[in-house]
Symmetry: C2
Subunit: 391 residues, 2 copies
Amino acid sequence: MGTRPWNSEAGQGEFMTCARQFYQFPGELELWRGGVLERPTVAYETWGKLNAQRDNAVLIFTGLSPSAHAASSPADSASGWWEEIVGPHLPIDTNKFFVICINSLGSCFGSTGPASVNPATNEIYRLSFPVLMLEDVAAGGKAVIDSLGIESLYSVIGPSMGGMTALAYAAQYPDSARSLVLISTASRSLPYAIALRSLQREMIRNDPDWQGGEYKDAGPVQGMRLARKLGMITYRSGEEWVQRFGRERIPEEHPSGDSFAPDFEVEAYLEYHAQRFTGQFDANCYLYLSRASDLFDFAEHGSSMEVAARKIQAERILIVGVASDFLFRIERQRELASIFKAADKRVTLVELDSIQGHDSFLADMDSFRPVLDSFFTGDWSALTAMSSIQP
Amino acid sequence: MGTRPWNSEAGQGEFMTCARQFYQFPGELELWRGGVLERPTVAYETWGKLNAQRDNAVLIFTGLSPSAHAASSPADSASGWWEEIVGPHLPIDTNKFFVICINSLGSCFGSTGPASVNPATNEIYRLSFPVLMLEDVAAGGKAVIDSLGIESLYSVIGPSMGGMTALAYAAQYPDSARSLVLISTASRSLPYAIALRSLQREMIRNDPDWQGGEYKDAGPVQGMRLARKLGMITYRSGEEWVQRFGRERIPEEHPSGDSFAPDFEVEAYLEYHAQRFTGQFDANCYLYLSRASDLFDFAEHGSSMEVAARKIQAERILIVGVASDFLFRIERQRELASIFKAADKRVTLVELDSIQGHDSFLADMDSFRPVLDSFFTGDWSALTAMSSIQP
C-alpha cells in the first residue's frame, strides 16, 4: 500500500472535504436514443498530475452504484471504492498516471440524472428523463476528457457496467484510447442478467412508496432494500458464503410476532448490506442505469461484434474475468476476448479463480492487484504468462 | 407414451373429477421441532394396484409447490406435474407399480397447512401453525403408507424439496424402503439457496397485503408474483434462456406512463409465469414450506452425515443431478453420492447435461426418462453405464 498522509486524519474523524469536480455542457447533449439533456453536468474526480505530453491519463468508468470517489486523496480523505487499486505505488499508480473517474450520467452523485432538476422546467426530471444508454455515459466521460485537454488516453478501464461503458467509449471514440481494460463485463446483456435486473426494478416500482417515480423524501425504501439483497446475491458466490457462513444461526431469538425473521447468519448479512444501502442511491437513477445495462449491445457499433471491434484502435486490450461470477460469467469474458481476437487485436484474457463472484474486483485484491500491476507497469511478459489465450 | 383412454375425454373439455384421497390422523401429530397438529389430514393420489405381496409400492414426495396430482388417471384426467414419468409403460410404470404421491403437510392442496382451520380453535392456523420440518412432511407420507397396509416400499423418490423429504423419510424409517431416488436435491441447504428463499419470503412478507399473515381474499398477490419470478430465475438456466430468448424484444409499445414496462421477451416470459401462479398457492403455506427447506439438515439424523447414511437400509440409491442447476448444484449431488458411498451403500450418481437448470426434471424428459426407466425396470448394467462413480 502506498503512503497516504491524509489517511491518518480520516481515522480521527476530522472534517471531510470534497474532491468532486464538475464539467457542465455549454448547451444541449443529444442522447444516443434521441432526446436531449439541457446543459447536463458530469461529476468526476482526479488523482495525480497530467504530464507535459498529456499522454498519461487513465479514465475509469464505474459499476452501477459507485460515485466518482474511487480513492482517497488530500481533498477527500474518505476511502474510495477502489482504494487498493488507485493511489501512489498502487496498480494504477497516481505518481505516474493522471487518473480520472467519472460519475455516470444518470447517477446521483453530482452528475445529471433523473434526480436532478431539469433547467427547462425547474422540476426534477424523474421519469421525464430520456432513455439513457451507456453510450451517453461514455459521452459524459469524453466531454470531461476534452475539457481537460487530453487527446489520447493511456487507458480506459471499467469493471461491470463500467466495462460496458468503456466499450461504448472505445466504439464511439475509436482513436481516443491507447489501451482498454475490461473487467467482469460483457459485450451485451443476456436474458439471465436482464431477468435479474428486471426483477430488481420491479421490486422498486412495486413498492407503493415509489409512487410512479413521484416519491418525495426517502422514496421506495423497502423496494430498494429488496433490490439490494438480490444484488448482493448475484454479486457474490455460493462458494464464498459456504466458507463465510455455512449454516451458522443468528444467536438472538426471533422478535415476537415475526416467525419468519432471519434465522441464519447469511440472512443477517444481507439485511446489514441492504440497510447500509438505504437512502444512499436514488431509486429512479437506479432504474435508469439498470435499464441502460440491459440495453447495451456492442454490436450496435458495427454490422457485427467483430466489425465493431475492428474500429477500435487501442493497441492493447486486457480482459479480466472471474470463474465464480454469476452475473457477468466467465464465458462472457471469453466471448469478448474472441471478438477482439477475431478482429486481430492484441488481447490478453486473465481468468481468475476468486471465489467472491462478480464483486471479486472489489473483494479479492490479492488476485486483481498483480494483473493490473503488470498491465499498468507494462510488464507484458508477466501478463502474457497469466493469459489464458495465446498471443 | 402409454395409452390413456381418459386423455381424449379431457381434450374435449368434459367434466373433471378428483382423484384426491385423504388420510386423517386419529389424534395429535407431534411435530419434529415441538408443537402438535390436531387430527391433521394428508392428501394423496394413487395410480396402479398394490399387488398381493404388497411390495410394489413407490412413494413420491413433491417439490415445494406441486399437488399430489403427479399424473392423470381415470379419476382425474387433468395432466399432472410428472405426466411423462408416471403412467402405464412410462418410467414409473403404473401397470407394474402402485404409485402414491403425497401432498406435503403445510401445503394447500388438501393436506393440513397454515391455510387450514385449526380444529382446536375453529380458526385458520395462519402463523399459529407450528414450525414445520421436512421430517413432518415425511411423517405424513409414512402415515399414508401405514394406512394402506404397506410395510416395505419398492422405492421412495423425490425431486428438489421432495428429495430432501425422501431423505428425511429414509432417515426416520430406515427399513421402510428398499430403494431411494434423489433428484436435484441436497443433504441440507447452504447459504446461497437460503439467501434466495429468504428473499422470496421477504418479498411476500413485505407486501402490505400480507397483513402479517392475516390476509383475507387473495392476499399478497404482488409479493407472490415477485417471489415466483425469482423462483423462475433460480429454477432455469442462463444457457437455456440464451437459446430461447436471446435479446428478442416484445413487439408491443410500452403502455404510456410506464417507461420501465417489459422490453425483452424474457421479461414477458417471467410475467406470464408469475401471473399463472397467482392465486394458485397460499402465501403462508409458501412461507412455511420454504422455511422447512432451509431448516432441513440430514446430519441431524446422526452424529454426522455418514452416520445418518449408515442407518438407511435401502439396497440401492440413485442420485440424479443436472450440470446447469443453480439452486441444487451438481456439487451437492456429488456430495450426497459421497456420503452414501462412504457409508458403504450401493449408489449410482447420474449427472445430466440438461440446460433447463433445476427444472430439468420437469422439462428435459429425454434425459430423465432413460435414467428412471433403467432404475425402475432394474436394468442395473444400463444404469451403471450412466453413472459417474464406480460401483
